[in-house]
């Protein structure tokens, strides 16, 4: 390789390395803000204290959904591996909202309760036909290995 090309190669590599380092440090510094959501256990350990509004993510606890009979008000419990949080929401829920669904609620704390202004359903990356799902659910039920908590992938 002749000296001119070698010099150009060095310059390009150095600039890209410097830019990668800058972006890497920037992203690392913003690590907390890059997170789209907080889980109930993170909120309970006080990580949400700095935020007036934030996103709460977790799974809808089976059997916790209670709909009001005369309005669009819904209350349910969002759980993760180490915590649970009651959520209150008034409005229309996405199609995928149901027991054991991963959801992301935007809102604020009101005492120990989370009041949501928006509820989104988080979809998982698993795709399969209905027949296969039914067959798997049946095999699952036959073996009695517990609930369907393996459905979501919320950290």
């Amino acid at each position: 390789m002749n000296p001119t090309r070698k010099r150009r190669l060095t310059i390009v590599v150095l600039i890209v390395a410097a830019a990668a380092l800058a972006v890497g440090l920037g992203v690392y510094a913003l690590q907390n803000n890059m997170n789209y959501l907080l889980t109930p256990s993170q909120v309970q350990s006080g990580q949400a204290a700095d935020y007036k509004t934030f996103r709460l993510g977790g799974m809808v606890k089976a059997g916790s959904i209670q709909r009001s009979s005369d309005s669009l008000k819904v209350t349910f419990t969002v759980v993760d591996a180490g915590g649970a949080m009651p959520v209150e929401y008034t409005g229309i829920l996405p199609d995928l909202f149901r027991d054991n669904q991963s959801v992301i609620a935007t809102g604020h704390m009101d005492g120990a309760r989370f009041v949501a202004t928006e509820v989104l359903a988080k979809h998982d990356e698993t795709y399969m036909p209905k027949e296969l799902k039914d067959a798997m659910a049946k095999a699952h039920a036959d073996k009695k290995v517990g609930d369907e908590s393996a459905q979501g992938d919320m950290p």
Binding site: P94, L120, Y127
Partner: protein
């Protein structure tokens, strides 16, 4: 030049040779793209069963995932060509990098639009500023920046070199797009298709998806070769080989 590079590769780097090479390969790439695309779409939209929780709405994946994959694949190809263009000043590499950008931008745009159309019924929102969606939007802006910078210069080769720099620096964003769903909590789900390890999709849905991913690759090759040929003719306007082609065209 270094001796370890075979001679045919040197020859391929010269505009007239590449013009002929691309011209003979392009129809085959396009035919394969159309064939595989038709098979993939038929398999995905007709043969594949409905999803257990999304019903038929999941079928947008057969457009969305191949486009998203191409948006990153083309950026990587553009970055590699831009690197060669900057260090070795090969004219063909400049042209390949600059002509990749509009194709990549189109795929990125399709990715964002189809994702948005799917997000409304499934998530409950058209758009949200999570890491995956935001970094993909940044990717679109990088493509537009490269295209814009290239055309902002009077001298096309100077423009190509400036834009190649932007393309190379922007390549940092590609791993961010890819790994964003693993590094941060996002609304966007993780990868369904895994090259290493098991994909999280049943086979009768997966094969049309993989076919579509292959079809988009061939489309990229066909489209790129077409664009590069046109650009080479324009760039080498006064040269003998272009005059010869023009004369041959005029005669027939």
């Amino acid at each position: 030049m270094s001796s370890w590079i075979p001679l045919w590769l040197h020859k391929l780097g010269s505009p007239p040779t590449f013009y002929r090479f691309a011209g003979s390969l392009r129809p085959w790439a396009m035919a394969l793209a159309l064939l595989l695309g038709a098979v993939g779409l038929y398999g995905g939209l007709v043969l594949a069963p409905a999803d257990y929780q999304q019903g038929d709405a999941y079928r947008i994946i057969f457009i969305h995932v191949p486009s998203a994959e191409m948006s990153m694949f083309i950026y990587a190809a553009m970055g590699a060509a831009a690197f060669i263009a900057l260090v070795w000043r090969i004219k063909l590499a400049e042209v390949v990098a600059m002509e990749s950008a509009p194709i990549g931008a189109a795929f990125t745009f399709i990715t964002l639009v189809t994702g948005s159309l799917w997000g409304k019924p499934m998530w409950g929102t058209w758009w949200t500023w999570d890491a995956r969606l935001t970094s993909e939007l940044v990717l679109l802006f990088l493509y537009l920046g490269v295209i814009g910078l290239y055309h902002a210069f009077e001298d096309r080769r100077q423009g190509a070199r400036a834009a190649a720099f932007l393309a190379i620096i922007g390549i940092i964003n590609v791993p961010i797009v890819h790994f964003s769903v693993n590094w941060w909590n996002t609304l966007h789900q993780g990868s369904t298709v895994n090259i290493f390890g098991k994909s999280k999709m049943s086979w009768d849905m997966l094969w049309p998806l993989l076919t579509m991913m292959l079809a988009t690759k061939f489309y990229y090759v066909a489209s790129l070769f077409n664009r590069v040929r046109t650009d080479l003719l324009a760039l080498e306007g006064g040269k003998d080989w272009v005059r010869k082609i023009a004369a041959d065209e005029a005669r027939s």
